[in-house]
C-alpha cells in the first residue's frame, strides 16, 4: 500500500468518526436537547414592567388542578383527601400481601390503619356532635413520630376534621375549641386512640361536594412575637399530589414495586404529607422517619430528603473511585447522557433532594452529576416555599446539565400546579426592561393561604394576593428566567 493511500484511509476514518460520533452521542441522550431548552410554556404577551406568565411544558390544557377523578359516568372532579384514602384502601384490599407502613421504626398494616383511623375519626365526631370542634392540634415534633400520629392525621383527613400542626408554644394563647394530640397518653382531646387487631379494608366514599371543601390542614409557626398560620385546602393537596405524580416520566413513574423513604424534618410538614399522599395513590411501600435510618435509606427505591440531611447520609458521602472513569461519566452526564459508573439494581433509583427556595445551594449541578454517577440513580432537586403544597420549582428528571451557579441559589422548572411571572421592582421606569428578571410572583392551585399576626392580636390574611395583579402572590425573592424556561433564583 502506498503512503498516500494510508494517509487517505486515515483521513477518511477520522472524517467518518467526526461525523458519526456526535450522532451516536445524540442517540444516547435520554431526551433531545430541545426538551431541556423549552421547559416552560411562555405566555405570548407581557405587561410593560413584567415578564410573560410561565407555566410547565408538561401540561396540555391548563394547570394541573387535581386528580381528575371520573364520576357520574362522564364528569371529572379534582378529588380530595377521602378519594386518595379510598384509592389506597381499595388497592390494599386487592394486594396479595398485607401492605405495611413504617413510621419511625413502628409498623402498621394498611387495614389496621384504616380501622383505627375510622374509629378515631368517628369517636371525635361523636364527642363533638353537640358543639363545634375547630381542629385537632398535633405538635410538630409529634408528627410522624409514631404510628399513632399517622392514625390521627388520617382519621382527621377522612372525617374532615381540620388538623393543625404547630410548634409547641405557638398555641399558648389559643382559646378555641381544640383537641390536642397527646402522644404519651395516646389521646386526642378526651378520645383515647384504641388499638384494633382486625384489619378493615372497607372505606365507603360516596362523593359529596362538601368533601372538596374546607381546610384539612393548618400549619403554624412562630418567630419572636410574630406568628404565622398557613391554611391548606383539599384542592391544594389534590393538585400538589397530581403534579408530583405527573412530574416523573411515564417509564419511570412510581409504582407499587417502589418503596418510598421520607426523611421528615420540622418545616417540611406539608411537603412530606404531599409525598405520603402520593405514595398512597401509587401504592408503593412507605416509610417515614424523623431519625437518620441508614439501612432504610439504602433499601428504599425512592428517597425524599432535605439537602442538608442528605449530605450527612452515607449516600451523601463522596466515594473515591477511578478519576478517569468518573470524568468520562461526568462528561457524558453534562451532554445529557445518563452514564453512571455504578450500574445495577442498586438502590435508590431516585433521590428527591429538597431545599427552601432562596436558601444557599449546598450541592451544585456538577456535584449532583457526581452523585448520579457514583450512586447510579436519578436526582431531582425541589425548591419549596412555606405556603406552597409540594415544590415550587424542581429540576427535570432528565436534567443533568452543568450550569454555572455563580449568583444563583437554585433553579428548576415550574410545578405543574402553578404559574409564575416576574415583576421588575426597579423604581426607575426602565424602557429597556426585557421581561426576564424581577420579583417572583406566583399563582396556582397548590398555594395555601397565610395569615401573619402579632401574638395576642387578631389574625389577618397576609398572602398579599393583589386582586389588581390578577391574584398573583409575591414571594419576596428575586428571580431570572433562563432561555430554557427554568426559573433561576
Amino acid at each position: 500500500m502506498e503512503d498516500w493511500e494510508k494517509i487517505l484511509i486515515t483521513l477518511l476514518c477520522l472524517l467518518l468518526l467526526n461525523y458519526s460520533y456526535p450522532k451516536l452521542l445524540d442517540h444516547w441522550k435520554d431526551v433531545p436537547d430541545l426538551y431541556l431548552q423549552e421547559q416552560s410554556v411562555i405566555g405570548t404577551t407581557r405587561k410593560a414592567n413584567e415578564s410573560a406568565i410561565y407555566t410547565s411544558n408538561k401540561l396540555f390544557t391548563g394547570l394541573r388542578g387535581g386528580l381528575e377523578i371520573r364520576y357520574d359516568h362522564y364528569k371529572i372532579r379534582t378529588g380530595n383527601l377521602r378519594d386518595i384514602w379510598e384509592i389506597f384502601v381499595n388497592q390494599a384490599k386487592k394486594a396479595p400481601e398485607p401492605k405495611l407502613i413504617r413510621i419511625n421504626g413502628e409498623t402498621i398494616e394498611a387495614g389496621i390503619l384504616n380501622a383505627m383511623a375510622k374509629k378515631l375519626g368517628s369517636s371525635i365526631e361523636k364527642s363533638t356532635s353537640g358543639g363545634a370542634l375547630e381542629k385537632v392540634y398535633i405538635p410538630s415534633h409529634d408528627l410522624f413520630s409514631n404510628v399513632d400520629s399517622l392514625v390521627v392525621l388520617i382519621g382527621c383527613f377522612i372525617t374532615q376534621i381540620p388538623v393543625h400542626i404547630g410548634a409547641d408554644n405557638a398555641q399558648s394563647n389559643e382559646n378555641d375549641d381544640v383537641y390536642y394530640y397527646d402522644s404519651s397518653a395516646r389521646k386526642v382531646g378526651p378520645i383515647v386512640i384504641e388499638n384494633i387487631n382486625t384489619p378493615d379494608y372497607v372505606f365507603e366514599n360516596v362523593y359529596n361536594i362538601k368533601y372538596d371543601q374546607g381546610i384539612p390542614l393548618k400549619i403554624s409557626n412562630r418567630s419572636g412575637h410574630i406568628a404565622s398560620e398557613i391554611s391548606f385546602t383539599q384542592a391544594n393537596f389534590a393538585s400538589a399530589v397530581a403534579s408530583s405524580l405527573k412530574h416523573l416520566p411515564e417509564s419511570h413513574s412510581i409504582t407499587k414495586d417502589d418503596s418510598l423513604f421520607i426523611y421528615h424534618e420540622a418545616g417540611s410538614e406539608v411537603n412530606d404529607i404531599v409525598k405520603m399522599l402520593t405514595s398512597f395513590i401509587s401504592f408503593c411501600d412507605l416509610e417515614i422517619s424523623t431519625e437518620h435510618l441508614e439501612t432504610s435509606i439504602s433499601k428504599a427505591s425512592i428517597v425524599s430528603i432535605a439537602e442538608s440531611k442528605f449530605l450527612a447520609t452515607e449516600l451523601g458521602q463522596k466515594k473515591t473511585t477511578s478519576s478517569f472513569r468518573l470524568n468520562r461519566s461526568l462528561n457524558y452526564f453534562s451532554k445529557g447522557i445518563f452514564a453512571p459508573i455504578i450500574k445495577s439494581e442498586n438502590k435508590p433509583r431516585i433521590i428527591v433532594i429538597s431545599r427552601k427556595i432562596g436558601s444557599k445551594m449546598l450541592i451544585g449541578p456538577a456535584e449532583l452529576n457526581q452523585y448520579r454517577s457514583l450512586l447510579g440513580c436519578r436526582i431531582i432537586v425541589e425548591q419549596t416555599y412555606p405556603n406552597v403544597a409540594g415544590p415550587l420549582l424542581l429540576t427535570d428528571f432528565y436534567d443533568y446539565r452543568v450550569i454555572p451557579t455563580r449568583n444563583i441559589n437554585g433553579y428548576g422548572c415550574l410545578s405543574q400546579s402553578l404559574e409564575i411571572k416576574l415583576v421588575n421592582d426597579d423604581k426607575n421606569v426602565n424602557s429597556n426592561y426585557n421581561g426576564t428578571y424581577g420579583q417572583v410572583l406566583v399563582r396556582g392551585y397548590n398555594i395555601g393561604k397565610m395569615a401573619k399576626y402579632a401574638i395576642g392580636l387578631p389574625k389577618r390574611p397576609s398572602n398579599q394576593i393583589d386582586i389588581a395583579n390578577e391574584g398573583f402572590m409575591p414571594l419576596g425573592i428575586k428571580g431570572k428566567w433562563g432561555s430554557d424556561g427554568c426559573l433561576y433564583v
Binding site: 494510508k6 468518526l17 404577551t45 407581557r46 462528561n331 454555572p404 432561555s483 430554557d484 433561576y488
Partner: protein, 153 residues
C-alpha cells in the same frame, strides 16, 4: 508495515484522544442566551403602523384589532395566519371586514391612514361586529388598544 486494520485502530485512538482532550464537560448557561424571536409582546398601545408587523410573517405572532382593542390571535394561526381564510386581517384593524363579513382587502383601511371610525355601518353590521368582539374577548387575550399613527405610545 502498517495494515489497514492498524490504520483504522490508529485513527480511532487519535480521534478519541482528541475527544478526551477537547471534548470535556459541556457547560450550559441558559442565563446568557436570550431568545428574541419569540419574545412576548408587551401589552399596551398600538398604532396601525406598529400593529402591521404582527401578521404571522414579519413576526410569528398574530395580532388583530377589533373596535379599538388589540387581540393576540396567534393561537388561531390556522384562521388568521398565512394561508388561513382570515389572513388579510392579520396585523390590521379588522373591524369593518368583520362587520360586513367580508375578507376583501378593500374593507381594510391602509395602515398609513387614520383609523376607521366605522361610520355608515348598518344596524345588522354593527350587531355582527359586536358578536365578533364578544367572540374575540372570550377566546383570545387582549394585549392592548389601537391609537392613531403619531399618538404617543
Amino acid at each position: 508495515m502498517i495494515t489497514i486494520t492498524g490504520i483504522i485502530v490508529l485513527a480511532l485512538i487519535a480521534y478519541f484522544a482528541k475527544e478526551f482532550i477537547t471534548g470535556g464537560m459541556s457547560i450550559s448557561n441558559p442565563l446568557e442566551n436570550s431568545t428574541t424571536d419569540s419574545a412576548p409582546i408587551v401589552e399596551g398601545r398600538f398604532t396601525p403602523l406598529s400593529l402591521a408587523k404582527f401578521n404571522g410573517t414579519d413576526d410569528p405572532k398574530i395580532l388583530i384589532a377589533v373596535k379599538g382593542k388589540v387581540y393576540d390571535v396567534s393561537n388561531g394561526a390556522s384562521f388568521y395566519g398565512p394561508g388561513g381564510p382570515y389572513e388579510n386581517f392579520a396585523g390590521r384593524d379588522a373591524s369593518r371586514g368583520l362587520a360586513k363579513n367580508s375578507f376583501e382587502l378593500d374593507c381594510l383601511t391602509p395602515t398609513d391612514q387614520p383609523i376607521d371610525q366605522l361610520k355608515n355601518l348598518t344596524a345588522d353590521e354593527i350587531e355582527s361586529l359586536d358578536g365578533w368582539e364578544q367572540h374575540f374577548e372570550g377566546k383570545y387575550p387582549l394585549v392592548g388598544t389601537l391609537h392613531e399613527n403619531g399618538d404617543s405610545i
